[in-house]
């Protein structure tokens, strides 16, 4: 005989959470979406790899004498961080052909008289202009000094020491934050949907009555939210690990410490955002009894998430703007906007603390109110329940 003990609250919550995880982990939607998000992040890393490998390579064609120009161009290139290759070209016609074919980024025509001209296909790359300008200028000065009888070698060369190798650290951080926000947003929508579908499934199949004969509504709700939350957290952590490893492996970020810091910020905001949205989605879903009616109650929340997402993207360009600043405090929007502002270095520490506190207060409210709605509406398995009815209903 197995005498049943009495599982306490923690045990019941754990059982519910365990069931959520083990069912979802075999769920097709979950597996496919996980794969898609992972591919997205790997795609972002790969994109960075391509960009990084293409940057800083300049090929200059020279029409005319290049014996003096070649070393000057290469030295100048080094100073501005470009790897300059010099090729000789037969004439201006050949230069135009090479430009059109993309063999050279610019062609320098050194005529017998007058100033040298730089031909470019469409628009001059500032790096290219700087290199050529510098080289030509240096040669000209050297020539004039020589004519004046001064040895050009006496002219001190300005040695450039790169102090900060990342050209734009906040830009890089913002980019990472944007990728993070895309993942965070996708996971919030996905996990919110899972919570909502799970709640309605239990109502529509009436299994909820059997469940509630062994546990309280809050235990069921907590188990569901915690189970799916752990799944979401595991997912975002796994994605972060893959993303960070990829970025470090291919050397696409200049400051690994900042990458990890930004990713951790995003993960922390995911936890806050998930707690908020999971409670809201669960309460909303408990109002309906059929999957078909689900869209009508969760659309407002989904719209809020979408708005937050677009504001976050927008604030990457203008992290100190009033839209970004205000929305980074608003609970529900802050998990999407604040990480971007933090990455851009536009948020002071007290602003972050304020946003977190506001978010925690909102979570506490939403969990309380949502829990009441959920408990009141759960056993009304026919039709739609109004929020007011659910709040007034007797709670078990």
């Amino acid at each position: 005989m197995t005498a049943p003990g009495t599982p306490g609250s923690a045990a019941l919550v754990r059982l519910v959470a365990g069931r959520e995880v083990s069912t979802r982990i075999r769920d097709k939607t979950f597996l496919i979406s996980s794969a898609v998000i992972l591919l997205l992040v790997l795609g972002a890393v790969a994109f960075q790899v391509v960009i990084a490998s293409g940057a800083g390579k300049v090929t200059v064609g020279v029409v005319g004498d290049r014996s003096a120009l070649q070393p000057a161009l290469q030295a100048e290139g080094k100073a501005v961080g470009a790897d300059v290759t010099v090729v000789g070209l037969a004439g201006e016609a050949a230069a135009r052909t090479a430009l059109a074919a993309g063999d050279v980024d610019g062609a320098l025509v050194v005529g017998s008289g007058g100033a040298p001209r730089l031909l470019v296909e469409r628009k001059a790359d500032p790096q290219l202009t700087a290199t050529v300008q510098g080289a030509v200028g240096q040669l000209a000065i050297g020539r004039q000094l020589a004519q004046a009888g001064i040895d050009p070698l006496d002219v001190p060369q300005v040695g450039v020491t790169v102090v900060n190798p990342g050209t734009d650290p906040t830009g890089e951080r913002t980019g990472i934050a944007i990728v993070g926000i895309i993942v965070l947003y996708t996971l919030l929508i996905l996990m919110g949907q899972f919570v909502a579908q799970g709640v309605v499934e239990e109502k529509s199949t009436r299994v909820v009555e059997l469940l509630l004969s062994t546990m309280r509504p809050w235990q069921l709700l907590a188990g569901k939210i915690i189970g799916l939350g752990l799944l979401g957290l595991a997912q975002i952590v796994a994605i972060s690990v893959v993303g960070i490893s990829g970025a470090l492996l291919f050397d696409v970020v200049s400051l690994p410490g900042q990458l990890i810091g930004t990713v951790l910020t995003v993960v922390a905001w995911f936890v806050l955002g998930y707690a908020f949205y999971a409670a809201v989605f669960a309460a909303a879903a408990s109002l309906v009894s059929r999957q078909e009616d689900l869209a009508s109650v969760i659309t407002p929340m989904t719209v809020l998430l979408v708005i937050g997402f677009f504001i976050a993207l927008q604030s990457a360009g203008d992290p100190s703007g009033s839209l970004a600043t205000v929305t980074s405090y608003i609970p529900g929007l802050s998990p999407l906007v604040m990480p971007v502002r933090m990455a851009a270095g536009a948020a002071a520490w007290w602003e972050v603390v304020l946003a977190v506190v506001l978010m925690l207060v909102a979570i506490a409210l939403v969990v309380r109110l949502g829990g009441r709605i959920y408990a009141g509406a759960l056993l009304r398995t026919s039709g739609k329940t109004k929020i007011r009815e659910a709040l007034r209903a007797e709670r078990l």
């Binding site: 049943p4 599982p7 019941l12 299994v207 009555e209 509630l212 004969s213 062994t214 007797e394």
Partner: protein, 305 residues
């Protein structure tokens, strides 16, 4: 003892339960009868903590039912409910665990009950792939898997074919033999009559009759008289004092005698019509008892629907 004591419940202006009370002894089966909407489901839901009573209580062995005691009760809701995509075995195991069995015991009990209910081969199938009858068996397995001390089943026989009814009846009798008190509601009164040690009829918000089928019969017995007089003209008994004709068909007459009416005067009247082939007090069936008590004055609301 499982005691339902003075339950009151109103939904708005709808006074559904108005002092419902009955007791079920361990090792007995209690048939809970009543018209649709009488409040049987509400009563059972109160026991399971799914509806809060306005007054009254349900007790098991003298203790108020709380979450802890309820986990030792097997419950089958009127609206069946299982996770459609979850496998049969896993599902039964899950419910066993919710009732407090540890992982190993739950797996063992699930294995045992799934086979016992003839679902051994479907263990790995999702519930939605099963026929309704088999889904009902899974539902029963979910109620029985934790070896409950008490069983509360809301219309467990509805939707079953005769074979299913027999196997469920056998399963419940088996539980009763092990000392479990079983309460079930049903409209199939023949079944209740056959299976139950005691019966309760709910009408108008309270129990209008409770007791063993025998006791109920005795209460109503001596009132219905069946007389078969093949040669009598139709309406032969219509004018007899203290007699109401319940039914009459080709001389086969069912009469209800008012208290104090002399049955011998009825026999004399019958003999006057000619041959009397049958003359006997009739044991009312539960169906007739049910009609009788439910239609009784003081319980008019219960007739509805």
């Amino acid at each position: 003892m499982l005691e339902f004591d003075g339950l009151h419940k109103s939904f708005g202006d709808n006074h559904v339960l108005d002092g419902v009370g009955f007791t079920v002894a361990p090792g007995t089966m209690f048939g809970f009868c009543g018209s649709n909407g009488a409040g049987k489901t509400t009563t059972m839901r109160i026991a399971m903590g799914l509806v809060r009573p306005d007054a009254g209580a349900v007790r098991w062995q003298g203790h108020h039912l709380d979450q802890e005691i309820r986990r030792r009760i097997g419950y089958m809701p009127e609206e069946r409910g299982l996770y459609p995509k979850m496998k049969v075995g896993e599902q039964v195991t899950y419910f066993a665990r919710l009732h407090g069995l540890d992982a190993a015991a739950a797996a063992r009990a699930s294995e045992e009950w799934v086979s016992r209910l003839g679902l051994g081969e479907r263990r790995g199938d999702p519930v939605e792939k099963l026929s309704l009858g088999n889904q009902q068996r899974v539902q029963l397995a979910a109620a029985l898997v934790s070896r409950p001390e008490v069983l509360i089943l809301d219309e467990p026989f509805s939707g079953l074919d005769p074979v299913g009814v027999d196997s469920l009846a056998e399963g419940l009798l088996d539980q009763v033999r092990q000392g479990v008190p079983v309460v079930f509601s049903s409209h199939q009164l023949d079944l209740v009559e056959r299976l139950c040690d005691s019966v309760g009829i709910l009408a108008g918000g309270s129990m209008v009759a409770t007791g063993t089928v025998e006791e109920l019969r005795r209460r109503e017995a001596g009132r219905l008289l069946r007389v078969v007089v093949p040669d009598a003209a139709h309406g032969w008994a219509a004018g007899l004092p203290g007699v109401r004709v319940v039914s009459e068909q080709a001389g086969d007459t069912l009469l209800e005698l008012a208290p104090g009416t002399d049955d011998q005067s009825v026999l004399a009247a019958a003999l006057r019509t000619g041959r009397v082939r049958h003359f006997a007090w009739r044991e009312p069936t539960l169906v007739e008892l049910f009609r009788e008590v439910v239609a009784a004055p003081g319980a008019p609301e219960a007739v509805a629907s």
